[in-house]
């Protein structure tokens, strides 16, 4: 029996970064907002206290804060004709669960995308001609520009107290920052984090070979900070336990540390945890949603929550799966190229170069989530692709984020994985190694997509989402190019051993790569090429709004959260200023 609850103004599915931002904006505007979150609530002071929070086995290896695949996972196949296998344990990406979502255990790298990333097809066409774009590279413009988003990027940076150095303020290039970035309206709220020794070696070498290094913008506060929502952040302790952990010092910006205090005091806001949303209740004739259905994971009871506005902020997989299961929009068919839901699923390709420096002490256990030194010279279209056989690029950085010994103890190539020799090499190099990471773009391709798996089911018997995904020739060429550049920096650092680790073979879901998945419910100009319009409003249900990196038509060479948050603020702005006055499609078809 389904119990029908009292109707509310807005219901939000998923309470990570994007859900929390939207909840704050809508309840601030006076709406009654109910957020439904599949995972548990957590009290940061209780859950992230010392010393337990520094437990690598529990949080990093056993993944305590993350989504439990027993409840829901995804399946993977590499080619359209393959049979998919379930991802039985998460590895390459680590979906979040519970209040805060992935934002609880993210690192904090807070990059804006390049202006050209937001209008990729137009940009590449203008510069290289339409003929250069391969037929099966299904990239497109966001239909919202960097200039539109700039104030919203700024707002997110202020919310998080981002530590960084501007490279371009209103068109004027700033020394020490990233000269390739889009024009910013101002400096970062906090000065950059203190660079590590390895960061400094990288900066020196990159400068020497004519590149433009700058400190990575990080949502790890370099000094105590009070954000515009009145929340206080502490100063980062460089403990090296950001990614996969909660922050004991309250220095890492998370939905909990930056927004929850304000939400707690907002009368119109309430949340229900352990509430697993299974469907958007959809009136196809009226082209609107009437609410959502969820199962309380503690009692097993099913509830219908009627609402005037439905916001999907259940991350890439959740958003796409809910649209597909609810029958909103036409599912994408990679063979015919028709349909849109599930289209342009992208990930990222992150080749690394491992460096071993025999005469350096690098103290790899000191670090912070976003403590990196970066060059953007080979990102996006910052360099000329006219004579290259690929598009895209990525930032190259040396991050001092963690040196936790279960997972981080590289040895030079040729070292056995165990035994006497392995021990000697591990003891010799642990403190003298660093990786140069390339955060590569991923441009959409016709066959990389999401749909519902015909075989495998979640805990409640509903179909899992199926990824059809593999790296494309463009990805591989781009990655090899970046790897070469990263190795060059490594050599300029005078590393004793420079060990590039190319990504070979089929994409694998086992070793961690990044949690920067995008696409599935992409934005665009028309219903035939996108799921949502430029305001992230569904073309097929004007009161459904979809948030997060699932709306990116392709992936950039950056971490995605700032762009996901900026588009959320942009969407909230349109919702409050336009949609509430006239609940109708915001872009005419």
């Amino acid at each position: 029996m389904v119990q029908v609850l009292k109707s509310t103004d807005a219901v939000i599915v998923g309470l990570g970064w994007t859900g929390a931002i939207m909840a704050r904006e809508l309840s601030r505007a006076g709406l009654k907002v109910i957020a439904l979150e599949r995972g548990p609530d957590r009290d940061a002071a209780e859950s992230f206290a010392l010393p337990q929070i520094r437990d690598e086995l529990r949080y990093s290896v056993r993944q305590e804060l993350m989504q439990d695949p027993k409840v829901e996972t995804v399946t993977l196949r590499h080619r359209l004709d393959d049979e998919a296998r379930p991802v039985r344990r998460f590895g390459s990406f680590l979906p979040g669960d519970g209040v805060g979502g992935m934002g609880t255990h993210w690192n904090g790298n807070t990059f804006r995308f390049l202006p050209s990333d937001h209008r990729l097809r137009s940009h590449l066409t203008e510069r290289y001609g339409a003929a250069r774009i391969p037929d099966d590279m299904t990239i497109q413009d966001w239909d919202v520009t960097y200039e539109d988003l700039e104030p919203h990027y700024s707002r997110f940076e202020a919310l998080c107290g981002v530590s960084g150095k501007a490279g371009n303020i209103a068109g004027k290039i700033q020394p020490g920052g990233n000269p390739f970035e889009g024009p910013r309206s101002g400096e970062y709220p906090n000065r950059p984090l203190t660079p590590s020794h390895a960061n400094e070696l990288f900066r020196h070498a990159a400068t020497e070979i004519g590149l433009h290094p700058f400190p990575a913008p990080a949502s790890n506060a370099s000094a105590p900070y009070v954000n515009p929502e009145g929340a206080s952040l502490g100063a980062c302790q460089y403990c090296g336990h950001c990614d996969r952990f909660g922050c004991e010092a309250n220095a890492k910006a998370t939905p909990m540390s930056t927004l929850v205090p304000a939400l707690r005091q907002t009368a119109g806001f309430s949340k229900v945890t352990n509430a697993y949303v299974t469907r958007v209740l959809y009136d196809a004739k009226g082209k609107r949603a009437t609410g959502v259905r969820y199962v309380d994971l503690r009692s097993g009871e099913t509830y219908d929550q009627p609402a005037d506005i439905v916001v999907l902020s259940a991350w890439v997989f959740g958003n796409t799966r809910l649209m597909l299961m609810s029958g909103i929009g036409e599912p994408y068919d990679p063979r015919s190229g028709k349909g849109v839901v599930g289209k342009n699923y992208c990930y990222q390709i992150q080749p690394t170069v491992q460096l071993f420096l025999k005469d350096e002490e690098l103290n790899p256990f000191m670090g912070a989530g976003g403590l990196g030194m970066v060059v953007d010279d080979f990102n996006g279209d910052n360099f000329d692709h006219a004579k290259l056989g690929f598009f895209g690029g990525g930032y190259i950085s040396l991050n001092s984020t963690n040196g936790r010994p279960i997972s981080f103890r590289p040895t030079p190539p040729g070292t056995p994985a165990w035994g006497t020799k392995w021990k000697q090499e591990t003891a010799q190099w642990y403190r003298r190694t660093a990786s140069v990471l390339c955060e590569g773009t991923n441009y959409a391709s016709r066959t990389n997509a999401l749909d519902l798996d015909p075989t495998y089911r979640d805990m409640l018997g509903q179909p899992l989402l199926r990824m059809t995904y593999n790296f494309t020739p463009n990805d591989r060429a781009m990655a090899d190019f970046l790897l070469g550049k990263a190795a060059e920096i490594g050599r300029a650092m005078n590393a004793t051993v420079v060990a590039p680790q190319p990504r070979k073979g089929d994409f694998n879901v086992v070793s961690y790569q990044s949690s920067h998945n995008t696409g599935g419910t992409i934005m665009g100009r028309t219903p035939s090429d996108s799921v949502v319009n430029r305001y992230l409003q569904s073309w097929d249900a004007h009161n459904v709004f979809v948030l997060g990196s699932s709306v990116f038509p392709q992936n950039a060479g950056y971490n995605p959260t700032a762009a996901a948050a900026a588009t959320t603020y942009w969407c909230a702005d349109a919702l409050v200023k336009k949609y509430l006055k006239d609940p109708a499609p915001l872009v005419s078809q």
Partner: protein, 236 residues
């Protein structure tokens, strides 16, 4: 039950009361592991999940993975078998956070998908031990735990290289699981029973907790930061 000779007998006790990280950092000395400490409480470790025979198998294997030498006691002396037994006896061993719905496809061992076995980790390790023992009996008439060191090393190398096929289990996935659990036991916080006396942390120079380096990150640029490593238990 377990052979606990070797390192413990020879290992001297030099407890290092290095609390002043700054002083130690400049001294350049290598902090030595405390062998006596490592051996002290091993005699009475109960087994929760494994049989004594299975524990002996694991003792032989983890000591091949982590042999005793100047750098540390052996894997089993550091409590790695105790660690594995406890992990397998708990939620992890029962398949917590592991999707176990079928169908189960052949193609176990297609490494891009991760393990696809229908078994939970405890059953998986137990089956693997039985299978590899049977293989060893068939090929050299002794179970794995009785192989001489060079033969055991060769067997493990062959397993790792995919040169041994076992009838009911993906041999390479079994090898990876053994190595992964061993490394977890050796390098994790000692509260889980492995990494006794923080032997692995001393070996590589990892200070453990409390990990507040706001000043040190600059102060120790290019210089070794050395401190008596601290475990979670040291703060409780």
């Amino acid at each position: 039950m377990l052979d606990r000779r070797g390192f413990m007998v020879s290992g001297g006790a030099f407890a290092l009361a290095q609390t002043d990280a700054a002083a130690a950092a400049d001294s350049g000395t290598n902090i030595k592991h405390d062998g006596a400490e490592a051996s002290k409480n091993t005699a009475a470790d109960p087994l929760y999940a494994l049989t004594p025979g299975e524990a002996e198998f694991l003792t032989a294997v983890v000591d091949a993975f982590i042999p005793a030498d100047d750098l540390s006691p052996s894997g089993s002396e550091c409590g790695v078998v105790v660690f594995i037994d406890r992990q397998l006896a708990g939620a992890y061993g029962a398949g917590a956070r592991l999707y176990q719905e079928g169908p189960f496809q052949p193609g176990n061992g297609q490494s891009q998908f991760g393990p696809q076995s229908p078994l939970a980790p405890l059953q998986f390790i137990q089956l693997g031990i039985a299978e590899l023992d049977a293989w060893s009996m068939a090929n050299s008439n002794v179970p794995v735990r009785q192989l001489a060191k060079p033969e055991l090393n060769t067997l493990l190398q062959n397993l790792e290289a995919g040169k041994i096929a076992l009838p009911r289990i993906d041999a390479r996935a079994f090898f990876s699981a053994l190595l992964q659990l061993t490394m977890e036991g050796f390098f994790s916080d000692p509260i889980y029973g492995g990494n006794r006396d923080k032997a692995s942390w001393r070996m590589i120079g990892y200070p453990g907790l409390p990990a507040t380096y706001a000043k040190a990150i600059k102060q120790y640029r290019g210089r070794r930061y050395q401190a008596e490593p601290k475990s979670i238990a040291d703060f409780l």
